[in-house]
């Protein structure tokens, strides 16, 4: 049993994610879903249970948290390792080893389990989770979904009774989410207690025994399993959370693209060094001044296509024809701008304004004009008040907007987004959708690599679906075709 009593917590130097007089009892074998907007404190609750608060993340803490009768504050983290297991959001940063075997056995090694036991535990775990084929592989070869499954296995190897999952589905496609769901229901049937903080909720509809909605560090609503299943799209929309069933999400948009021109991609053939992955697209015609979603499973070649459109792969001989002009890879770098999934990689300067000014490369423009123009763009994206701040001091969403602002400043006609909504709550997802619609109004053509059905329905005009590096579907999104899109997201598993 987990008991959190009157906990107040504030992170050192930040108000985000703090808790206010929070009390919560979780019984053995219960599956509890924590949701709410970013910064509402749901991750903090998980950290109270796995002991990262107060042992790793420092801050002001009052009240008590006990797990199976043990006071967390008095228990060392290594003693909790066999009691509470944690799966984190980002597979990239939770792996200690670089091979799957080493990763799975890491926890067992740490607590000094005898070598023979470690091997048999690893093999049992692999068998139970049906991941024998993933053993003895390099972490860097795995897809995001496979990495997250290895993360689950590496936690489960110590057989903790309590599992804490912090936004585990953020980087996953729908079939990987399906696998995660299977793992969760196996854990549930083994009687484990599961605490899961999430934005995407639809895969937890059948699993959750209880759902807690947090706002500003307080539990504002509590729902039992029958109430969770009864929630309609309108209900979740009102509560500000993502829907609990994808079937409820429908296409209701009025604001559609009025494009008249087409752009043509030709001869996009590219293979990675491993000889297995790549794309092969002889010809693809797409509308300009539209928002084009590139969808498909992990590993289908979506990001590869995006990189190639951008001109980041010199070896690709493909061309892009736009407005009667044909662009080769090197020339495409000058007309395309990509907003990466990890925007930290593309912020270089010391202030948000400098960041935007760096993108205005036209030598004819004077510095004062540049400043003026940057400030205009920043105002459009609600960033004016941050224009003198260091980009790294901003929140994730603000950083993303800064990157979008530099994209606009570069006056390139094509903008490409790589999974712009992974790990975003409803409000932020809608905000991104709004910004992308603005980009279209400015006359840009926008490509979006995404796994997010709701997001696609709220802003995209056109769908390209890739499978094994080839285009299998290419259609305009409207009231008649949204069923086709939905099929991909719901029936595929």
């Amino acid at each position: 049993m987990i008991e959190i009593k009157n906990v107040n917590f504030r992170y050192k130097g930040s108000d985000e994610g703090s808790l206010e007089d929070l009390s919560l009892t979780i019984h053995d074998g219960e599956t509890v879903l924590l949701c709410g907007a970013s910064g509402c404190g749901k991750t903090t609750v998980g950290r109270l249970i796995n002991g990262l608060i107060p042992h790793y993340y420092k801050g002001e803490l009052t009240g008590s948290a006990t797990v199976n009768g043990r006071d967390i504050a008095q228990t060392e983290l290594y003693d909790l390792a066999g009691v509470v297991g944690t799966v984190f959001q980002n597979p990239r940063s939770q792996f200690f080893a670089i091979d799957t075997d080493g990763e799975i056995t890491f926890g067992a090694e740490n607590i000094g389990m005898p070598p023979e036991d470690i091997v048999s535990r690893k093999n049992d775990e692999a068998r139970e989770m049906h991941i024998e084929r993933l053993l003895d592989r390099s972490i860097f070869e795995l897809s995001g979904g496979e990495k997250q499954i290895i993360a689950c296995a590496s936690v489960s190897v110590l057989s903790p009774d309590i599992m804490v999952l912090d936004e585990p589905s953020s980087n996953l496609d729908s079939s990987a989410i399906e696998k995660l769901k299977t793992i969760l229901s196996d854990w549930k049937s083994q009687g484990k207690t599961i605490i899961i903080a999430e934005h995407r909720l639809y895969f937890l509809r059948e699993l959750a025994d209880r759902m807690l909605i947090l706002d500003n560090g307080k539990i504002v609503k509590e729902l039992r399993s029958d109430e969770i299943r009864a929630l309609t799209f309108a209900d979740t929309e009102r509560m500000g959370i993502r829907p609990l069933s994808l079937a409820d999400v429908t296409y209701t948009r009025e604001n559609v693209s009025k494009h008249d021109e087409m752009l043509t991609l030709e001869n996009y053939v590219f293979t990675y060094k491993d000889g297995k992955h790549g794309i092969n697209i002889p010809k693809l015609e797409l509308p300009t001044n539209s928002i084009i979603a590139i969808i498909g499973h992990n590993g289908a070649g979506k990001s590869t296509l995006a990189r190639n459109i951008c001109g980041l792969e010199k070896k690709c001989k493909g061309t892009l024809t736009l407005g009667g002009k044909t662009f080769k890879a090197k020339e495409r770098l000058k007309i395309c701008y990509m907003i990466m999934q990890d925007v930290n990689h593309q912020l270089f300067t010391e202030s948000v304004r400098d960041e935007v000014m760096l993108s205005i490369t036209d030598k004819q423009i004077t510095d004062t004009e540049k400043t003026h123009r940057s400030d205009e763009i920043l105002a459009q994206l609600d960033l004016s008040e941050y224009s003198d701040k260091h980009p790294m001091a901003l929140s994730g969403g603000q950083k993303q907007r800064t990157a979008i602002a530099s994209g606009i400043a570069s006056s390139k006609p094509i903008l490409i987004f790589d999974e712009p909504t992974s790990g975003l709550d409803l409000a932020h997802m809608k905000q991104v959708a709004g910004e992308i619609l603005k980009l279209r109004d400015m006359g840009k053509t926008v490509f979006i690599v995404t796994h997010d059905l709701e997001f696609i329905l709220s802003c995209c005009d056109h769908i390209v679906r890739l499978e094994k590096g080839q285009v299998v579907e290419n259609f305009e999104l409207n009231k008649d075709t949204d069923i086709r899109l939905r099929q991909f997201f719901t029936n595929e598993s």
Partner: protein
Amino acid sequence: MIKIHLDPRTKLFMIFAVSFIVMVNAVSPMEWAVRIIVTLIPVFLLANEGRYVSALRFLLCYGAALFLLKYYISAESTGVLSALLVGYCGIVAQFMPAMIMAWYVIHTTKIGEFMSAMQKMHVPDGISVSLAVVMRFFPTIKEEYLSINDAMKMRGISFAGGRITKMIEYRLVPLMFSCLNIGEELSAAAVTRGLGAPVRRTSPVQLKLKAADWLMIAVFAASMILFVISKYFR
């Protein structure tokens, strides 16, 4: 080709031996012979990992460096050109072999094997865990660095208008932030899985020195002994 699998202890010894022999100045033909053999073994291992192109490229550079050293460069050479050539030869003949060896070790050693080897050598857990994290970080830094480079290309600032300090700053600042973040999340994930427990870590990897290991150890030990004798005891 059969992939050669060496014990991490052998590999560590090889790094040490290669660095020692190629860094020390070679004069006599005997010393040169030892040095060339010691350079060719890492190149062979590189090819064994399937990096034929890199291996061949290095061999050509190395051949050129040896040729230059023998026929064009002497202790009396002066001038800018010969200074550049001396620099080139120094890098290719003296640094690259050790770099190739280090690449090979990092590329082919699993963290589990490494930890087990460190344990057998009775290195304290604290030191071996830190070293393991360093090893784990190399591929991560490479991945991050490549994405940052892509971002710079896209914004047309790869050369930052020719200002070298900016070129370095634009690369290093995001890289440092990324690595810091990853490091912080990584250690949070590691401590929740019991890292730091006051028990001796165990390892499921059973290491045993095999024929290939003994052969390599013998070759490198012999090379070092020959080199030292020919250099200091004659």
